[in-house]
Amino acid sequence: MTLEVARDMEPDERAVEPQTFDAYVRERSVALQRFAYLVTRHPEDARDAVQDALVGLFPRYAQVAAAGSVDAYVHRSIANAAVSRWRKGGRLVPVAEPEDVRADGRPLEEAVTDAEVAWDLIGELPPAQRTAVVLRYWSDATFADIGAALGCPEATARSHVHRALARLRAHLGEDDHA
């Protein structure tokens, strides 16, 4: 049950590129905003990043679609926007932990779920690594796709994900011993 929730909302239908820019926007803009939120962790930044990416996409949609890489192109734009914001913002990571999640009277350590630990960890990752994790575990992207989206070799994409996983495993392992 835990993992199936919201998976039906994952609209990563990459088999066929929409024929037109309009169709792509209609089909994918909501999913792209969700993706951007997971990467930027800020709703307004996410919307801005998606808008900017799509505005940049419009004049070159035909070529990008012909190459079958529209999502990769947009993901890359969003990731770049996140990196830029990260650099400009002094690498501050917003803390998005809702207060009420842990306000149920239970001891803190019991209330903290693996998912919450994972969400906190994702927020601490550098943008490229975070984007790789989001693409891998939300979009179910292959490492090759992640590499294409990040503009890096597949091995680098694999490294991003594995490093994040190792870090999370260490966190969860610490929790186990707590």
Binding site: A6, R26, A66, S69, R76, D114, A115, I122, A164
Partner: protein
Amino acid sequence: MPDHLRLVGDARDGGTDRAEEALRAALASRAADVDAAPLDPDDLRAQAVRPVDLGARRRRRILLAAAAAAVVLVVPAGFLLQGGDRFSAVPGDSSARSESAVAAGGAPTQDDAEASDDAGTGVDSADASQGDVTASGDTGASEPVACPTAGPPVGGIVDFVAVLEWHGRTYAWAADEPVAGLGAVLGEVRCSIIEISEDGTRTVPGPWPDGTATFLPVGATIHEVPGFDPRCAVGVRFNDADTLLRAMDTPGCPSS
């Protein structure tokens, strides 16, 4: 606690990786919480074509690139001119085409008159580069064009303004102007900046030869537009729509 935040530790002793499941659960739950509305393609399109109202810095950058191209092209043009009739040596010469285009376009427009008036002024410098440019960069020419090469990666996406280099001029996308069909084919795109720049991940230093477009693929046809002097405006087919491109900063032509 919501279902999507339930512990996934049940899997820790099974075959599924606990950390991976935690990541999937965290991302799925947060994504589901995002209150996102579909974006309007028309709004995005309007923003995409906003570069037509170029800021001073962008405008200056484009003009500098065009000027650099003109300088590079004028020099070999001089050698060609010394060799004889530059027009007769060039099939489908741009000047002749411009005149025929005006005739084919029916009633002369104000653009036509103004462009003609300016033929001896600012337009001349551009015309001077047209002869040789046409020889190498025109539609039917089989010779390869020396397209610009990409610079190093920029670590981001370069947002190229939607322009076409043609006949020594820079034509910019005039999206708000409807086009009632396209006329005769004038030529085709020979160099695509978006392709050369690898989808905008690299800069493409000038000069950009005639037939270079930032947003069109190689082979895209460039057309006359009925009612417009091709010195002032040309048309292209893009994204299933006829699109007008206006010459920038060309005396006698309405400003783009």
